[in-house]
Symmetry: C3
């Protein structure tokens, strides 16, 4: 059986990293999920989901190293299509991926103690994002 919910967040863009773990835990509790999986999906092609230890130093490292792999100022072919500036954002998001799947066991997400589910918004401007949370039990 599938149960759908959502999480709305406002981001600053430019590899802003947001911890959505408290929202996810609240949703799992609200729907009384005992055993199953939670799929989180971000519509849009310039944001991504993964897990990290959510602490300020690592947030900066993600910013620095994603920009190093796909630098903001380079002449992406994507810019020729739309005359915009977010080619790097698209590549960063595609590499990280738009979804994450987490088991729920005995009513809890099976995350490690220092492991949080994060949205990384790679776009070059602030964005509002509505994440889809799909639970299967």
């Amino acid at each position: 059986m599938a149960i759908t919910d959502s999480i709305s967040v406002s981001t600053k863009g430019r590899r802003d990293v947001l911890d959505i773990t408290p929202d996810l835990c609240a949703i799992v509790k609200k729907h009384g999920i005992g055993s199953g999986i939670v799929v989180v999906f971000v519509p849009g092609s310039t944001a991504a989901l993964t897990t990290i230890e959510y602490e300020p130093g690592l947030k900066k490292d993600i910013d620095v190293y994603l920009d190093r792999l796909f630098p903001y100022g380079e002449p992406y072919h994507h810019h020729e299509t739309w005359h915009d500036d977010n080619g790097s954002s698209h590549l960063q998001a595609a590499m990280l991926g738009p979804s994450i799947t987490i088991p729920v066991v005995e009513g809890k997400l099976t995350l490690g103690t220092w492991q949080q589910v994060v949205l990384i918004d790679c776009d070059t401007r602030p964005r509002n994002r509505q994440l889809v949370v799909q639970m299967l039990v």
Copy 2:
């Protein structure tokens, strides 16, 4: 309940990017999926699945930047094992990942307007790929 289908594609290799969204939408419709998830999985270790805005500029950027991260011509240890030339393909595919999971809500994949599900074939030669589409409702 699990329902299985598949998508067959022919690729050119060398980071050929194929939009499989129309095929996925048709499969979801064909099986009358109302609410659930779709898991797409590519058997083989030199191709991957993610989402991008499917437009010609970004397809070129994916080619350029994946090759920059894991360049074709370097002396990979993998080549010593099989005396072939696709070590870069294996690393590109492993980094992107072989599967993607997308929620289905009210009969529709929850993709953004400019977000398509793509197969990226990183192998060094043309390949035929049969993707597994597993739906859970």
Copy 3:
């Protein structure tokens, strides 16, 4: 219906690559899964799951190229937070991702012939890892 099992492994850290496919196949068989999905998830933020052709050359390539993208010896901001040395491990694991989802069709994981499910432990020291295996049928 969700069925939970687990896989325990000991790793050497430093991008140690372990083939967990035999364990997964045994779990699928043990629980008599005919059709569904298997979600494997690694608790902790310095290890990741993906698929590769599991052979010694590629294991070395993964070590070399992950270290090239996020080198061990650089001054990560994460080190300022905890005065440890594994900032590179966190970035490598976040990029690869902590979970993988694989269809099961007619009692078998839909892997390619030369495709294995691997845990990559990016931490800087040996670790014991207990992976969560969540099956949905």
